[in-house]
Symmetry: C2
Subunit: 223 residues, 2 copies
DNA sequence: CCAAAAGTGTTATTGATACACCCATGC
DNA sequence: GCATGGGTGTATCAATAACACTTTTGG
């Protein structure tokens, strides 16, 4: 024993892994990284990295987010910690996972042009994933679905200004249920979280839509 | 670098800490341990321990629970992972925290007879706590409050058989709101999660109450 | 017969759901 | 003028909330 009462035996490694969501082309998608090295070389995995000793868990999540997407200001929420002893074949690794939400419009190069080791995948058509990353991703999708129904979490998937039909579409994609347009609008406006911008959408061969924004871009429980 | 692609620099320590709840004497209480050693020697803290390399996070939680209460079969749920670099003054420690619920009646020696380094504290009258344990405890209470309103989580605080008034009292204590007796009973029976046992409470100078139990003692969402 | 907790229904209010047509624009 | 999505109101139904007295037992 040392005099600090801390164990001297080996400690597990700690990583921070992210399930980064966006919505595009009517699909809920997650960002995956193709692994370059063993184990699971060539497999897709969710992005992550080792926790550095000086940084908090949240800081590590922000760092990984920035490394993979170039974006810093996003919705981030700790999801769960996974730590089965066998989840990494080499050594003991505890992973603290996060959900991140990013508006499709904020991505620097949508559909990852020439970068082939990064890809956005429809969460309903996932490739084989390394480690226990499928379990993590499924857990994240369930959490996102649940929170969409009782919070304004989807603001993280929308640009600053949006049409009510954009908002409705996001809800429909995440929960996979169609919504009634009139009831949806009534309910959303009743929350008091939205504000008309006064501006109108210009493009499109149809009546232009009022653009709305969230009064505060922060997580709030609804209803 | 080694050939496993794992960092050779120092890893943080990983602990598993528990917020163990019970309800007694009309109060929601948490189990605290008086620290024997520095840092925070003499302060109260939530029970916990270092993760062993061969055990899962859940296994570690069960182990700590058993060590402190002598009880193994309890409701356990992972709460959150805390990892501010300065949260332990000596070295980097990530803690994965859990909530545990235990029926007062299951405790071997209620009000911890001669054991003075363990104590049950009203969550509204907490002593000074070591590390960031106050933050963790407050977080746990909020989670328990929230879940009480939309799940049957309170089964973990009740013995196998109980009166509907016991159930109501638990809800009132956790949420700190009085409930209407008739509406409460209607709503609870409507969930279909309860079953009459046929037995009746015997003690007491009043009409004996029907005893109920949960059809399944497992976590279910309500409403 | 008194104290103590158990048990039991109805009404009013509120929120949720279902549903169909006209409007403004670009081409 | 036609195709496209934008925008609006009412009626029904379901869930929730408010509310007070009778019953059974022990002492």
């Amino acid at each position: 024993m040392n005099n600090t009462n801390y164990p001297e035996y080996e400690q597990p490694a700690v990583t921070v892994d992210l399930v980064i969501f966006t919505v595009s082309a009517e699909k809920l998608k997650a960002l995956l990284v193709k692994r370059a090295r063993e184990p699971y070389a060539g497999s897709w995995s969710i992005p992550g990295g080792f926790l550095k000793l000086g940084e908090s868990l949240d800081d590590a999540a922000v760092r990984v987010m920035h490394e993979k997407t170039g974006v810093k200001e996003v919705y981030l929420e700790q999801l769960y910690s996974f730590g089965r002893p066998e989840r990494d074949p080499r050594t003991r690794v505890i992973t603290v996972t996060y959900i991140a939400l990013i508006p499709w419009q904020d991505l620097v190069q949508p559909e990852s042009g020439k970068v082939t080791d990064l890809g956005w995948f429809d969460v309903n058509e996932l490739p084989g994933l390394a480690f226990d990353h499928r379990e993590i991703l499924v857990y994240a999708v369930n959490r996102l679905r649940a929170k969409a129904t009782y919070s304004n979490i989807v603001y993280g998937l929308l640009p600053v200004q949006f049409r009510l039909s954009d908002l409705q579409k996001i809800y429909e994609i995440i929960t996979d249920h169609p919504l009634d347009k009139r009831n949806f609008r009534k309910r959303m406006l009743a929350t008091g979280l939205l504000k008309e911008t006064g501006k109108k959408e210009l493009t499109g061969a149809h009546r232009p839509a009022m653009l709305y924004c969230f009064k505060k871009r922060e997580y709030v429980l609804m209803e």
